[in-house]
Amino acid sequence: MKSFLLSLLLCSWSLLACADPAIQVENAWVREAPPGAQMMAAYMTLKNTGSSDVTLENITSPTFRMVMLHKSVIVDGVARMSHQDSLPIPAGTSVALEPGSYHLMMPAPEQRLHSGDLVEFNLQFADGGTVRVQAIVRKKP
């Protein structure tokens, strides 16, 4: 029982493993991709609860060979995705990665992901801090 509790504690710690505790990640999810789709997108809200600005610089994931930070914009009716080198999150604010705006774009893995699967992302910040995030695969409009 004791070891179970300990492992539970360790597990929950690993889910929230924040070398950068000023960043809270909420509602992280990956859009389930239709069969044949080569690209996938992930979304989450990044909350900077600290008193200094932070900048998201790089994202990696054991599930995807590449993770890119993109932003969809619609200008004069034309949808366009642009690559973002980094994403600033000013102190005390939150930035939403959401459909039609900022998102992570990943090439779909060989093994198709299904609704309910969990995938991990490592967010690396300019100050050297990292945040590990678990995202759930969801079928969502």
Binding site: P34, A37, M39, G77, A79, M81, H83, P99, G100, H103
Partner: protein, 203 residues
């Protein structure tokens, strides 16, 4: 005095019955003042069968122009159209059920086989169309649909910028209305019914 009012009222009622129906007030869509007749085009559906202007006739068509390598905007729009179809399911008016046609603006990568895998995920009745780039251009130019490649991480990973609007064709195969972003399934379904009723009343 009363005797005079009655014939005037009668005349007003008769006049309003004869006057043409007024275009509906739409929530999200823009109705074209005149339906746009488009020239024929030769494309291919997801089953490898020809898809031409004729395939846009005989029923209403919601159309969207995108590509399957698009992970954000296109799945959002296709899921939204699946919701619109669900909302219209209850409508038992003959000829009421529209079709949804996804035109690829990335024919190099979107083969009929890719579209056949991809589209049923959203709705088994969705039609995917691809083919000769020149024919896609021939169609899109008439509709004001814009698209173009933009470089990605590598030569194969290019992105495609594309118009995000949903276009509605009437059962004569003519371009009738346009829905800009952001798309809301309730409003689009309600606008569709209003446009259809107006079309029926105007015939």
């Amino acid at each position: 005095m009363k005797i005079r009012i009655i014939p005037m009222l009668l005349a007003a009622v008769l006049l309003s019955a004869c006057s043409p129906p007024q275009p509906p007030q739409l929530q999200q869509g823009t109705l074209l003042p005149d339906a746009k007749i488009i020239a024929d085009f030769q494309l291919t559906d997801q089953n490898g069968k020809p898809f031409t202007r004729k395939n846009l006739m005989g029923k209403w068509s919601f159309t969207f122009f995108g590509y399957t390598h698009c992970p954000d905007v296109c799945p959002t729009s296709l899921s939204m159209l699946a919701q619109v179809m669900k909302k219209l399911e209850q409508d038992k008016t003959p000829g009421a059920k529209p079709q949804v046609v996804f035109f690829s603006v990335d024919p190099e990568r979107d083969t009929p086989e890719v579209l056949a895998q991809y589209l049923p995920y959203f709705n088994p009745d969705f039609i995917g169309v691809t083919g000769d780039p020149q024919q896609i251009l021939r169609l899109t130019r008439q509709l004001g649909i814009l698209y173009g490649k933009s470089p990605g991480e590598s030569a194969d990973d290019y992105l495609v910028d594309h118009s995000a609007s949903i276009l509605l064709f009437d059962p004569d195969g003519n371009f009738r209305a346009l829905f800009g972003t952001p798309h809301d399934p309730d409003r689009i379904a309600q606008d569709f019914v209003a446009i259809r009723n107006y079309y029926e009343a105007s015939r």
